[in-house]
């Protein structure tokens, strides 16, 4: 018998005795649902506000708490100047990016040499880039984070290898909460999901030394989110 059959056999034998329902102990009475118990998550997670305006304000507040830089632009015409300002301040000489309507626009506006990931790339070259510019799948107001995938954001490494991750997003990509973000990803991709889906909530961080927050542990020290 294979180990698979051994393990599944032991599981089936163990499950012949049923376990008490969750919450049967303590003060809360047990109850069961016919649907997935987590399907009402929206009612319990942190509240997000009803209007788009409130949700943009919430996203901005959450992003600021995470030490991400969020810039809500009036139109995409403002993007070139905003990008160039960062590029000049940080003395960028080369960026990495991927093919995409908005990412192409951003790279063209910058006018710097670009390493594109779409048809394969040299990892050492990408490591030397000053920034990675990607699109995304969603901005999540509830958390101040963005959802990217290996298909929408130029692969797996682009959003974590360069020291500055710049996300270019469209206003209509804002979703209210995490359940909405998961529903969107499922609707957009199922059953053929990209091999990686990542919720990025703020720049890379660690607290492993005396629980003191340090940004840029392994991934980007800075995360900038432009929304046009």
């Amino acid at each position: 018998m294979s180990e698979r059959e051994n393990i599944l056999g032991r599981i089936r034998e163990a499950l012949q005795v049923s376990a008490p329902l969750p919450g049967a102990h303590g003060e809360t009475s047990a109850h069961t649902h016919t649907e997935s118990p987590a399907s009402h998550a929206r009612e319990w997670l942190p509240s997000v506000g009803a209007t788009g305006e409130e949700q943009f304000a919430l996203f901005a507040k959450n992003a600021a708490d995470l030490k991400a830089d969020f810039q809500l632009l009036a139109s995409r015409d403002e993007l070139p100047a905003a990008l160039k300002k960062i590029a000049a301040a940080e003395k960028w000489s080369r960026v990495a990016s991927h093919e995409g309507e908005l990412s192409n626009f951003a790279c063209k506006a910058l006018g710097l040499p670009v390493t594109l990931t779409d048809r394969g790339y040299d990892v050492q070259a990408m490591e030397k880039c000053d920034a990675g510019i990607t699109e995304c799948d969603a901005l999540v107001a509830q958390t101040g984070g963005v959802a990217v995938t290996s298909r929408s954001a130029g692969g797996r490494a682009l959003s974590v290898l360069p020291p500055h991750h710049v996300v270019v997003a469209r206003r209509e990509q804002l979703v209210a909460d995490l359940p909405a973000a998961f529903a969107l990803l499922q609707q957009k991709y199922a059953p053929d999901f990209p091999s990686m889906i990542s919720f990025i909530t703020g720049p890379s961080r660690t607290g492993d030394i005396e629980r003191i927050l340090v940004l840029g542990a392994h991934g980007p020290k800075q995360l900038t989110i432009f929304c046009v």
Partner: protein, 464 residues
Amino acid sequence: MSTFVSDFKTRATEKAGDLRHRSVIRTALRSYEIVRDKRKAAFQSWESARQAAAETKWEAINHLDKHLVALTSKLEARGTKVHWASTGAQAREIIAQILRDKKARSIIKSKAMTSEEIHLNHALEKEGFTVVESDLGEFIVQLRHEPPYHIVFPSMHLTRGEIKDLFQKELGDAPSDSPEELTMVARRVMRQKYLTADVGFTGGNFAIAETGMISITENEGNARLTAALPKTMVTLMGIEKVLPCFSDLALFLPMLATAGAGQPMTCYNTMYSGPRQPGECDGPEEWHVILLDNRRTELLADAEQRDSLHCIRCGACLNVCPIFRNVGGHTYGTTYSGPVGAVITPHLRGLQDWKHLSNASSLCGACTEACPVKIDLHHHLLQNRRNASAGEPAFFERLAYQIFGLVANEPVFWSLAKKLGWLTQPLQRAVKGSALDPAKAWTKTRDLPPQPRESFKDWWRNRK
């Protein structure tokens, strides 16, 4: 007394009196409860979320066979190679064989408690492979050749000064004791390791049966890089990590972050559903997923304590446990420490050897209250005590209770005992805590209240 018990007692006594250790742990956990409570308060209903999380894990664990079959067939359909391991030795051999087949030399690892559980690093190093931990805390304890102190914060027992000295000694690079600069040293060291590693190794936080995905939660980005750059990726995960639906993560990810570290969301929550797919520009060519039993099915067979397989390893019960905070993580001598470790270790490694952990508890219930998936931790500790004494009754304890029962049931004996107690108490005070005291284990650190001359019964009878 087994060596496990005596080792535990020795270490616990030492740590509980170690003021330096106490102050380091206090500093590390000082803000945890405050920020966690703030994040919990941001939920519209944390209690409803807990109940739903408990029910979701109940469904996953109580139909584990069905969910594992769904998970693995989805994973395999997209080119992932799934392996099953009944024991730690089997898992180590599967991983070593993958490395031999790939002619790998260097392995970059992101944090995985399952790999600690099966002592993977030691086994791979013995075969000549180079293994580097990339999580900063794990990297630090690896340099010190010691196991992680805490399942979420591996190096929380160390001060910046000690880490600076360690980096200076082991890496020859420690500009100052600033956490920022020390983190940058590790970042520089690790960057080159990423670019040259042959195999990337990860654990898994959740596995989604519906879509065939493994979700990894981390703050640093090291797991993201581990799963992006090396040509081969290996993931080791306990069989209990399953969740039924993709959308369940919308609840579990913020709850894990809140309970574990008081964060609204951990920085990177990443779902992998296969190796590099056609049309994708990077990612591993091969992905091996190893599902580990290692006696989890024995825990599953104990219906009373089956809910301890709901554990999402957030570490909340460790953070709030007065025993953990006093004796520290290394004292337990187990992979999983704190209340959840005390509950599951007797199942994973043998009840009689590890039953003492269930007594290392004040039964205050702080762990049960902190648990985001409502595991009945402190009652499980009582059940372990019951099961252990049923298996191996303590002779003297039983004798003592039998004598007490006899005395307490017989008024003549009882009044005699009262008189004897009053007469002998000066003697007890004289030998208290010393080698002559038969109850010294108890009286060493405790005072017996003085027994008055007149009992309540006498006073009642004599009142005017």
